[in-house]
């Protein structure tokens, strides 16, 4: 039983790490209806910038500030170069543009910082602690607390602030939002800035775990089933989806894997998400859109 609990807890905590990436997607989707394929690459770019500054001998906090400035500049550039020319274009066009952005950012990051793998120490202990017989990772607990704090802050921002409500209005209808005086460009810049900050947190935590390397951009593969399951527009959904995906994939790998040759935890979450789609096409917490045809 204690082994089962250990796998379950490890899965829940792994799910929180997936949620960190999924949150960035949700933010941009909520505000613009665009699935930002470049979110994983943004996390890589942020982590790579940060670790390169630190390796130059720059103080940790100054490096963090410089990275934040870079992500703000990126948000402005994305709005000006990618999004503004595509206002009112079909969402699939915007999605394709973010795929292009992902390729560009990956190449740009390499041109700027090189292709080497970097070690990133955040000073968070990675030693396990034991609760009875159950082993839990301190690092994962830290990541969980960070994600919870981010979710609380973002949920408050979206539901209680004027700017948050404006973001939701823009997501519903660009034209209608513009007609009532919501500054679309500012809103988009703002949301990309916030998504950039989320990418910094995700990039640093994932980078600290894996090393800062180009494989970081692949962490989006873990975020997609979380989004499908939790709902593309729901911040709590990203967390709940992450917890379900993380725990179920670990349990499936350990208990089902041996019967089918193992290595199933990459596709199992997608199967689970697909099954959810059949029952709840908008995910667990997604908004149900009713359109007049």
């Amino acid at each position: 039983m204690s082994f089962f609990m250990e796998v379950l807890i490890a899965g829940l905590l792994a799910g929180v790490m997936y949620s960190l990436v999924a949150l960035g997607f949700v933010l941009i989707f909520k505000a613009s209806g665009v699935l930002n394929y470049a979110q994983g690459t943004m996390a890589l770019f942020a982590a790579l910038s940060f670790v390169s500054f630190v390796e130059m001998g720059i103080n940790f906090w100054v490096a963090l500030l410089l990275t934040a400035i870079i992500m703000v500049i990126l948000a402005f550039v994305v709005e000006r170069v990618v999004l503004r020319p595509l206002v009112n274009q079909p969402l699939i066009t915007l999605f394709m543009a973010t795929i292009g952005l992902s390729f560009f950012l990956e190449g740009f990051a390499q041109a700027l910082w090189g292709s080497q793998v970097h070690r990133l120490e955040l000073g968070i202990s990675d030693d396990p602690i034991f609760i009875g017989d159950i082993m839990v990772s301190q690092f994962d607990i830290f990541a969980g607390v960070t994600a919870a704090a981010m979710v609380a802050g973002l949920a408050f921002f979206f539901s209680k602030t004027k700017m948050g409500r404006a973001l939701r209005a823009v997501a519903d209808d660009h034209q209608a939002a513009l007609s009532i005086g919501i500054p679309l460009r500012h809103i988009w810049v703002l949301v990309w800035v916030v998504a950039g900050f989320v990418a910094i947190v995700a990039g640093l935590l994932w980078g600290s775990r894996l090393g800062v390397q180009f494989a970081l951009s692949l962490i989006i593969l873990k975020a997609f089933p979380v989004l499908i399951l939790g709902g593309f527009e729901s911040i709590p959904g990203a967390i709940v989806g992450g917890l379900i995906i993380g725990s179920s994939e670990k349990l499936a790998e350990v208990y089902l894997g041996p019967y089918v040759g193992g290595g199933i935890e990459n596709f199992f979450p997608y199967m689970l998400a697909l099954a959810f789609l059949l029952i709840r096409p908008y995910g667990l917490f997604g908004e149900v859109h009713i359109e007049r045809v």
């Binding site: 490890a10 899965g11 990956e106 190449g107 292709s115 080497q116 990133l120 082993m135 180009f214 494989a215």
Partner: protein, 442 residues
Amino acid sequence: MLGLKKWFLIGISASLVGGATMISSAAADEQFVPLPSYRVGPYAAGGTGLYGGFIDYMNMINIRDGGINGVKLTWEECETEYSTPRGVECYERLKNKGPTGASVFNFVSTGMTYAVIERATNDKIPIMSMGYGRTDASDGRVFPYIFPIITNYWSQNTAKIKFIGMKEGGMDKLKGKHIVNLHHGSGYGRETIPVLNKQAEIYGFKVSHLEVPHPGADQKSQWLQIRRMKPDWVILRGWGVMNPTALKEAARMRFPADKIVGVWWSGAEEDVIPAGKAAKGFIAAGFHPAGTDFPAIQDIIKHVYDDGKGNLSDKKRLGTIYWNRGIIHGVVTVEAIRTAQEKFGKKSLTGEQVRWGLENINIDEGRLNELGVAGLMMPIKLSCYDHEGGGSVKFQQWDGSKWNVITDWIKSDQSIVRPMIEESAAKYAKEKGITPRDCPKT
């Protein structure tokens, strides 16, 4: 006016003919080496180092020696991002370049190597897969154009089990031991399952195979299982991000790093540095050491880097595992062309001719000294029967800042490997309707 026009046309024609002759004469002195490299994407760190070393060596041969017997080496890179479909596209794009087409392809990817076996055989272009690729291609009778040289995966694996046996105090002490094979979820990762099962049968140890899905950025479920299994040793068959993640998870589970033995694609600086102190003590197989203390490498520094012509912008990477592996790729490629020139003449050669050169390569200790790579690589002798030609492995251990070689060359166990290779190759030949070549068994 007409006269002027006539002289103008004659002049143009003469220039074109002259130019063509010049191109043809320049082309005749070139040997084209295609480079399907990966410098972007998740495996860029390995790709930049390895292809950087490969190019640096060829550059040095051109600058220092004026090419191979006066034939200059030329090359062109094609970005694969370590994606098999892109690798095949690069193969098609590069195979006819140069005056006589591609000399030899080095994909540095097992997936790509598998994907082009039939194409390359039809096109008569050799594929060199140094330390990777399809293991049973070591049987040159069935795979005339494929060269998994130096040490294939099965040979390496038998050397690993020998190493573990040495550490346990003898091969008989392996009985009852438990070894976990933690492997990448790919053709490369699964390649050694049959040979490990066979060795488990012979030596009486238990082997458990645990697959880590690509890219291997999360391995909690595998390491929780390892913690429960309490194995004596873990064989790490990783690639890219899977390696530091495995070492970190092992440390978290309190599994000792010096009981983890990696494949050589787990044994570069890029694999251990991100893992920090968790990697200290980790052991990996290797077919060459790190370091710059070899005459050939000193020549590269002198002739290439000191003149600002080096391929790597960061000189600190010179002498790292991947860069040195690239040098060895260069050495074998150049020696294959040189061997082929002895038979076919000092001119641009076709892929088929270079294939002959590879099959007849013989780099013994004396030649290693002449080339300035003694100690960097082992002697190699290939034949129609044997496309592997070496089969020995050294083991190295990470001390937290550098790799230290901890064994001499450990020979692979060909009494296990060769029958398995022949059985597998014969099966392939039957499936594809290939009549194996008749070669002397040496």
